[in-house]
């Protein structure tokens, strides 16, 4: 990195600072009164500050204050509104805790909450008070709180070493780091001791005890130094942030980046804390790495590993797992990839020659490979008990009895087989056969069974094959050597194979998870609809996690809605539902196996989308997820959430589309209707007005009356059409079939359209043998009327309009042909749609005529179609199934 880069604010950091500001605007602000130990006056200072704020007019209430019966403190409490504590029954005694919901409901400007690191009584919503405080902040309430240095997670161990007191109530450093303000309450050790001796901190007899144990001058000084240093580091960081924020060019912290390599031992916790402290003082970024090798973890080890990982998270250290049998190589490769400047490893404890060799090897190789990366080796803690130290790290026996039995059977069977052929192949060849068997078994069975098979086969070979037979005794020294070699080879073979197998298994599990995730993503992409997503997601979780889950998604009303329809929700109580709602609101996992409401039956995870939380998934978790499982689980949830989000967006888009479409339709309808209504009304008004105002000659008057008449007919037709449409819409059309003559029908329509047809040549073609047909005369008249009117409106004046009727085999066909413009390919499918008007259509018309035609024809169970004629114009064809009257046909033909 060159100097130029050093002097330039990193864009990512700038963005992060902006985002921080934005995020903080909504959240409440956290102010911590920070001290080196009890008795320095944190609570007192907090109350004093609060008094001052109150005088300025802020609304301040007390959420939880511990006065420790100190008089000055108790005096300051007076005058503040106090939220009563909530009682929890725990093991038949009552414990009082802060009433979180009451404070949120009260919604003050500032709330005072003493002792941030406090652990809540079982039964409270959150395990820790700092979680309560987080929730208060989320709700936009500002919080004043107090904290002692020994409660900081990263310092608790050091404090334990200095004072000998193990601190159980710890606070993740992240909380402290994210505080908006930290006020250091400092007192010199002498003053503190003075206060103690005056009984201002504890009652006199407790004071003496305290001074002898905890409050030794040396302790106090060390704690004070620690507190001062932390606050100084914080100020330093703030300055850095400030300069970054104000774009001040200055000595930026170098891009130091620490990597701490941890393992499954308890030592790693100390390593993590030390590394974190180091990163503080160096102003460096930090991440942790665990290298998974073929070493099979015992239950205790994997528990410790999970603890270590959890600690790393609490210390706000980014955590990674890599798989590699060569730990050194894995560390160095990772460090190079991530531009790590310092690698921090713990010094393994030297227990025996093997570990000496291993340590030397490990450290030497790390130093050799790490190149320009600095390597820090932190000493092991002689006081911390390595309670895992005594375990044998080589084989672990987790195979079932079945496996032991099976390998024994294999060994015995092959031995018996060999026994029969031993004269043929010689007893020495038998050893190879058995060796082969052990090797093969190693592929399929665990370490334990392989050890057994090695021992068994060695014994059998000795007793039954090596002369003298049926004794353990061996004559030839060569055979002794052979037996020893046989045993060692069998053993090594078996163990090495099973080791490879374990490694392979781990990789396979990862691969399976990756594949499963890939498959899941693929499955999700092809489905659509929230319900489908729920179904696939539920099945998937059932398949890969063996968990029955309930998925709740936010609906339009802003409440959570249970998704799946097949399984009932009866088992989900109101209380469970309220937890789900809490998780949704706060976007934090809760329930069983979490820090929040751990006593509930279910575990709840929020489904956090890009912009907001979109739902909650709840399930009965029978055991805590391992780190790998949790990663897998979170990846799945991310997929599910993403899919839900996309689906919700899609549905929203669809809704908007429908709304905009119906708005468009409404506009079209409104425009055409208003036009259609206004023209005849304008005519009637204009004509009648003319008649009223002025005296005109007789023929002018007649013309005007005629116009009024035509316009009225037109209005009437429009109203008819609208009424017919609404009848069709409501499904009230049922044709009243009656015998009718097609000639009548054609004449009636031609008459009613006399005016319009003036300019056209109409030819009606009816075959002479046309029978009487059974149709609804009124409806068909309207159909024909609309079709012919349509033809007149779209054809040039003087052109011919043909209407052709014929009957064939139970169906009546009516064709209306014109020489108009026809329809373009794109719109020919839409001509029967309601309110559809041709692009080339003349002004006027509602777009209802043809849709009414279609409706009425369909009411007759017939069909209507349209096509363009070859030499221009449109051809409408109607086919209706009809009954005919034979008698009438006969009569007709007889005429």
């Amino acid at each position: 990195m060159n100097n130029f880069d050093d002097n330039r604010p990193n864009p990512d950091e700038l963005l992060a600072s902006l985002l921080n500001e934005e995020e903080k605007g909504k959240r409440g602000k956290l102010k911590i009164f920070f001290g080196m130990c009890a008795g320095v006056g944190k609570t007192y200072s907090m109350l004093q500050t609060a008094q001052a704020e109150k005088i300025k007019g802020s609304e301040i209430i007390i959420g939880f204050i511990e006065t420790h019966n100190r008089k000055e403190t108790a005096n300051l409490v007076e005058g503040f509104e106090l939220i009563p504590r909530k009682s929890y029954e725990y093991k038949s005694t009552f414990v009082q805790e802060m009433d979180l919901d009451a404070i949120i409901a009260r919604n003050p400007h500032i709330v005072l909450v003493d002792e941030l690191a406090h652990t809540n009584a079982p039964g409270s919503r959150h395990a820790k008070r700092y979680q309560d405080v987080q929730e208060l902040l989320e709700n936009g309430i500002n919080v004043y709180t107090t904290l002692n240095v020994q409660h900081l997670e990263s310092r608790s161990e050091t404090v334990a070493q200095i004072t000998g007191v193990i601190v159980r109530e710890t606070l993740p450093d992240e909380i402290f780091e994210s505080a908006d303000e930290v006020e250091l309450i400092d007192l010199t050790p002498d003053e503190l001791l003075q206060r103690l001796s005056e009984g201002k901190v504890y009652a006199p007899e407790r004071s003496r005890e305290a001074v002898e144990n905890f409050f030794r001058r040396g302790n106090i000084t060390a704690l004070r130094e620690m507190a001062l240093r932390i606050v100084a580091d914080r100020v330093d960081k703030q300055l850095h942030d400030y300069m970054q924020h104000k774009r001040i060019r200055g000595p930026w912290k170098s891009g130091l980046h620490l990597l701490v390599a941890i393992d499954y031992r308890q030592q790693s916790t100390r390593l993590l804390r030390l590394a974190k402290n180091l990163s503080y003082s160096m102003g460096a970024q930090i991440q942790a790495l665990y290298v998974e090798s073929s070493h099979k973890l015992t239950v205790k080890e994997s528990e410790q590993l999970d603890k270590n990982i959890k600690l790393a998270k609490q210390l706000a250290i980014k955590f990674r797992i890599n798989t590699n049998n060569d730990i050194v190589r894995a560390i160095v490769e990772y460090a190079q990839k991530e531009n790590i400047t310092h690698i921090i490893v713990g010094k393994p404890r030297v227990r025996n020659l093997y570990s000496v060799l291993r340590l030397g090897n490990f450290v030497n190789r790390l130093i050799r490979y790490s190149g320009n990366i600095d390597v820090y080796i932190l000493g092991s803690d002689s006081q911390a008990k390595d309670n895992l130290g005594k375990k044998v790290s080589l084989p672990s026996f987790t195979s079932g009895y079945k496996q032991y039995f099976t390998v024994s059977v294999f060994v015995f069977l092959s031995s018996i087989l060999c026994y029969f052929v031993k004269d043929l192949i010689g007893y020495q060849a038998v050893s190879f056969a058995l060796l082969f068997l052990v090797s093969v078994l190693a592929i399929f069975f665990g370490t334990g069974p392989i050890l057994l098979s090695a021992v068994l086969s060695a014994l059998i070979w000795d007793v039954f094959f090596i002369p003298p037979q049926f004794t353990l005794h061996i004559d030839k020294p060569l055979d002794v050597l052979m037996l020893i070699m046989f045993f060692i080879i069998a053993l090594l073979n078996g163990i090495l194979t099973s080791r490879v197998r374990r490694q392979e298994l781990k990789i396979r599990i990862r691969e399976e998870r990756t594949n499963a995730l890939y498959q899941f993503t693929k499955d999700l992409t092809v489905i659509s609809g929230l319900e489908e997503v729920t179904k696939v997601a539920t099945n998937y979780i059932q398949k890969y996690f063996k968990l029955d889950c309930f998925i709740f998604i936010i609906n339009d009303a802003g409440t959570l809605e249970y998704q799946s329809k097949h399984s009932s929700l009866n088992i989900f109580s109101e209380n469970d539902m309220s937890i789900a709602n809490w998780v949704f609101k706060n976007s934090i996992k809760a329930g069983k196996n979490t820090d929040t409401l751990p006593s509930s039956d279910y575990t709840y995870f929020p489904l956090m989308g890009n912009n907001s939380t979109i739902g909650v998934v709840a399930f009965k978790q029978f055991r805590v997820f391992t780190f790998g499982e949790e990663q897998f689980w979170e990846a799945c949830l991310a997929q599910i959430t993403g899919k839900y989000e996309r689906e919700m967006l899609r549905e929203a888009a669809k809704r908007t589309y429908i709304i905009s479409e119906s708005e468009k339709l409404y506009k079209i309808l409104f425009n055409s209707l208003s036009h259609e209504l206004r023209i005849p009304v304008a005519t009637i008004l204009g004509a009648s007005d003319t008649l009223l105002v002025q005296d005109y000659a007789e023929d002018t008057r007649k013309k005007l009356y005629n116009e009024i008449n035509t316009a009225s007919i037109r209005l009437n037709r429009l109203i008819e059409n609208l009424l017919n449409m609404s009848r069709l819409e409501s499904g009230l059309i049922s044709p009243r079939l009656d015998w009718c003559d097609i000639h009548d029908l054609a004449n009636r329509v031609a008459d009613s359209l006399q005016n319009e047809l003036n300019l056209f040549k109409l030819s009606v073609i009816i075959p002479t043998n046309m029978p009487m047909v059974n149709i609804d005369f009124g409806l068909m008249e309207q159909v024909l009327h609309n079709l012919i009117l349509n033809a007149t409106q779209h054809s040039p004046a003087g052109s011919r309009i043909r209407v052709k009727f014929f009957y064939d085999n139970g169906s009546l066909t009516i064709q209306v042909m014109d020489r108009g413009t026809g329809f373009s390919v794109t719109e020919i499918h839409s001509v029967f749609n309601k309110f559809y008007r041709g692009k080339e259509a003349k002004a006027g018309g509602t777009g209802l005529g043809l849709s009414i035609v279609k409706g009425f024809v369909e009411a007759h169970k017939g069909t209507v179609s349209v096509e363009n004629r070859q030499n221009g114009g449109a051809l409408f064809t109607i086919k209706i199934p009809v009954e005919i009257s034979d008698i009438n046909t006969l009569n007709k033909t007889n005429d």
């Binding site: 023209i679 008004l685 204009g686 004509a687 007005d689 105002v693 005007l704 316009a711 006027g844």
Partner: protein, 149 residues
């Protein structure tokens, strides 16, 4: 009002055209009818009507467009007669060069009065088609410009 002032009606609605024809011819106007914008522009050029009554909702070109086209050379009154009754439409039409605007339905008396007004105002202009600015004279009718004669 001179005898037989010619009025061009551009409207796609037969019924409206017929109504106007009956009423206006009864009041002594000579009526020319056009059902499309293009037809209207052609007739305006060929028949030189004294006034044009124009509908905005025409099947081929929008009425506003017709006004613009006519106003390139046609200086006599144009009265818009349309179902569109929003202020925006009215302002647009007037700004584009129309002399007056009536909405359908209309009253015949009012229409006649407005026709009379338009024709009266136009007389002043048409009787003096030569504009003079000092030594410069512009003859609008003959499309000629003279300086110092």
């Amino acid at each position: 009002m001179t005898v037989k002032d010619a009025i061009l009606i551009i409207d796609d609605e037969v019924q409206i055209r017929r109504l106007l024809e009956i009423t206006l011819s009864a009041n002594g106007f000579k009526i020319i009818e056009a059902s499309t914008g293009k037809e209207g522009v052609t007739f305006a050029a060929s028949q030189q009507p004294n006034l044009i009554i124009l509908d905005l909702g025409l099947p081929d070109i929008d009425g506003l467009e017709v006004v613009n086209k006519l106003r390139e050379w046609y200086l006599k009154p144009i009265i818009i007669l349309s179902v569109r009754n929003s202020e925006v439409d009215i302002v647009k039409a007037l700004d584009n060069g129309a002399n007056d605007y009536l909405t359908k339905p209309f009253r015949t008396g009012e229409l006649l009065a407005r026709i009379r007004v338009a024709l009266r105002q136009n007389q002043n202009i048409t009787e003096n088609p030569v504009l003079e600015f000092g030594s410069l004279s512009i003859d609008l009718a003959n499309h000629t410009v003279r300086k110092n004669n």
